[in-house]
Symmetry: C2
Subunit: 240 residues, 2 copies
């Protein structure tokens, strides 16, 4: 499985993904699930993926091909699309098409493949955050719901529900997604380190911070332990 989360805040956007993929519990590997497309100052797009690796890899590869194609047009290339809405549309159409193709192959074996994606970015004035469903349709983060998740989203949702608002600072937002991921890592083996974290500050139109957090990362371990300790301390003090 996978856990990816994207936040759309007044100050910018924050994305976090894990890297574990598995075909059965005995076949575990590390694959990047966060992809950036940038034309600094003009547009920035981060895509995170969950689901069948054969679907997500092919979708990302074809999106790249379309960007590099010499006939690339605003209809086919996410780097030429006039708005983030059009970007979501292109990604959704590509995902749906690849999923159908892979599904047809797998149908012969009575299996199926599915995948979903988070698309976060800024083109011109508006930062926007979309969740693309396997069928290609999508929803968008709003003022009321400033975060979107794909994959194993339930373990890490309570902390986000409690602390993330549109006005949350980028520093607090990074802490929130990391603690959300930490809860997921602890409760579900199919989500695993290393992690990819990125920040896109508002109006920079580029990835302003990018960090890979490896399994032994001292800072992440310290934060995770401090949080566990804080939870246990507070737990002891609360009255029922």
């Amino acid at each position: 499985m996978t856990y990816c989360v994207g936040l759309l805040l007044d100050a910018g956007m924050v994305c976090l993904s894990d890297t574990r993929t598995n075909a059965g519990l005995d076949n575990i590997a590390t694959y990047r699930k966060m992809f950036h497309f940038e034309e600094p100052g003009e547009r920035v797009i981060t895509i995170m993926t969950a689901g069948s690796l054969s679907v997500t890899q092919t979708t990302i590869a074809r999106l790249r091909e379309a960007v590099e194609d010499e006939d690339a047009s605003p209809e086919t290339s996410i780097m030429k699309a006039p708005t983030m809405l059009k970007v979501a549309d292109i990604v959704g159409a590509m995902l749906a098409q690849v999923r159908r193709e892979v599904d047809e192959k797998l149908n012969a074996m009575n299996q199926g493949a599915t995948a979903s994606m988070i698309v976060a970015g800024q083109r011109a004035r508006a930062m926007r955050l979309f969740l693309i469903y396997p069928e290609g349709n999508f929803i968008e983060a709003t003022e009321d719901t400033p975060f979107l998740q794909i994959g194993e989203h339930k373990y890490g949702k309570p902390i986000l529900d409690r602390v993330v608002r549109r006005g949350t600072s980028l520093a607090d937002a990074q802490k929130a997604v990391l603690l959300s991921m930490d809860s997921t890592l602890r409760s579900n083996l199919s989500v695993g380190m290393p992690l990819d974290l990125c920040v896109m500050e508002k109006d920079a139109c580029r990835v302003t911070q990018k960090r890979r957090i490896e399994a032994g990362d001292e800072q992440f371990r310290a934060m995770s332990e401090a949080w566990s300790r804080a939870l246990r301390d507070r737990f002891t003090q609360i009255a029922i």
Copy 2:
């Protein structure tokens, strides 16, 4: 949906269930999902249910019938079964049979019904806690894994993973299951108040505490708010 959790501790057992059932989002009702069978001092059994209401109600009704039957035997009545293992066996067989019957009826409409249960209790010396699968097979809580959950279990798992050990006191255990439920209630509409909480102290062989927590319960609200406040406070203080 549903959320039920059972804890097996050195000091006794703690069970908590919600009461929301729904057939679609527009058809919501309140049904008890926690059932007690007691012969104080001799044996105590608490059963919690998740899944299709038609399956769980029929299963519980038939288990009661079997207890009240004048030909009740250790093979058919959970109140005559010699061990908790045999109780789990009887419940599992009954659940599987009812599920098959209901499934057959629903197959005609291309629908299916499923359900699972938690069985907690003490007969003679050993307190035991089982999770019964829809097929009738079951697993048991152990020293390493002192809690079992059914229904919407993911939201409330991180807090249990962090604080529940076999040596946890009954007071802390009640707090842990209530906070686990609180996280679930906040993040998932299909789980709802009121709640049923019970404690079976070790060797009492009866339900030593039973409490229904209604939607407006002042104590629960205060605990939930204190916990939210504590999380937010600590969140602010933790460094990344």
